[in-house]
Amino acid sequence: MTRRVVITGMGVVAPNGVGLSAFETAVRAGESGVRFIQELADRNFACQLGAVPPLEASHLQVLTTLERKTLEASGIIYGLLAAVEAWSNAGLDVPGNEEDPDWESGCIFGSGIAGAEVMRDATYLIDEGRVKRLGSGAVSQVMASGISAYLGGRFGLGNRVSSNASACATGTESLLLAAEHIRSGAATRMICGACDSGGPYAWGGFDAMRVTNRRSNEAPEAASRPLSATAAGFVPGCGAGALVCEELESAIQRGATIHAEVLGGAINSGGQRKGGSMTAANKEGIVRCIRHAVENAGIHPREIDAISGHLTATLFDPIEIEQWSVALERSGSQFPYVNSLKSMVGHCLSASGAIEIIAAILQIKGEWLHGSLNCENLHPKIAECIDPERVPQTFRKHAVRTLAKSSFGFGDVNTCAILRRYDPE
């Protein structure tokens, strides 16, 4: 019999709310986390907006004194805070220093660039001939597996501990990799998710590529416009989302609260062929990814009630909607409801999928759909493909049983996860 995988813990550090409760309140109310960022203006960025979690000193209390003193990588700080909340939300303990690690629990937690500011400072010190001043924390804060290394120690994990990276698909990919590992029988539970640092050193490359919105510096909250005819590029963001994935029987035995079930999913690539490139998607890759996810979940495409899209607010949004329609063979008023959390929190890059999955689970649990902001003027190509009513502009009550979440990334990589309200039958 196939092992079922459920989500028993969630934690989030998002631009519009730090911690599950603040985040849920903000998402329900449609609060934007996009702000004008002086540091970007000072450095002549064309897009001077960003979405940064409003961290306060009280949030940092869960870190150790040493972590508060030495951690400078904002992505690792976000990741630790989100993961500690998820672990505690799952009702899990942490083994003491002299106890055995938890051999049945592991971690697949990704990032794109978790410590951009650490790399920047280290570069200056090295070029000034002061390499010694890097201290002991430079390696662990800039290495690609930094976040999983911190989490493995924090929770005493004795199973697989690794970090994944697939650009903006990282967060959703981490959930699917964790679920696969549990389903294979190799672990009982995995902490997964993703984090990314923000600020000029993390975002400069995107500004240079002209993929961010450079036309809305005077109106931050209107700048992230997924699905809109006037979408003009994404607003860069940062933060973290963390999930505890667990084998169903273990969750039941522990009496854990089950937030949702991971029915299945798919990860693939368009091979950077037939229109696909480093930055653009091969449409067929997306269609295949969605179809494989539906097949892997063992459901009919009709069963999908809502889609949490990748939908970044670029020219790609209409293409994404079209591929969903092709893959699910649903259009017009038969199309699932679709919204984009990026309209509130910007594009949190590698962390985006993880933060958006948490919003998706909150919607499934609470039976509501969040408003997709700033798309009063739906893109005409989208309006041709689906009934505009399928895009909720504001919060509405709606029972969502099955939800599809997609994230796509540079390198023409695709992910799609199928989540469902937990049903004991």
Partner: protein, 87 residues
């Protein structure tokens, strides 16, 4: 005027504090206290403590001296000698 030995110990105490998880161990620090064994400081963090000491006292500690800083007393000896050399 060069700082007194108790003053150096006091400032050193404040530097090592964040690196010590066991708060109990910090209550009985004297010159014989071994940084790694008695205070259970992660050996990796010794390089950070040396950087903090250099900054706090405005001195340079070379590798050879750093290796000798195993106890509070030996650390104070090295700090005091570097301060004296700077005078």
């Amino acid at each position: 005027m060069a700082p007194s030995r108790p003053d150096i110990i006091d400032r050193l105490h404040r530097i090592v504090e964040p690196y010590v998880e066991d708060e109990e161990a910090l209550t009985s620090v004297d010159e014989d206290t071994n940084l790694l064994e008695d205070l259970s400081i992660d050996s990796m963090n010794l390089v950070d403590i040396i950087l903090d000491v250099e900054e706090e006292f405005g001195i340079e500690i070379d590798d050879e001296a750093a290796e000798q800083m195993t106890t509070v007393g030996s650390a104070v000896d090295i700090i005091a000698s570097r301060l004296a050399a700077a005078d």
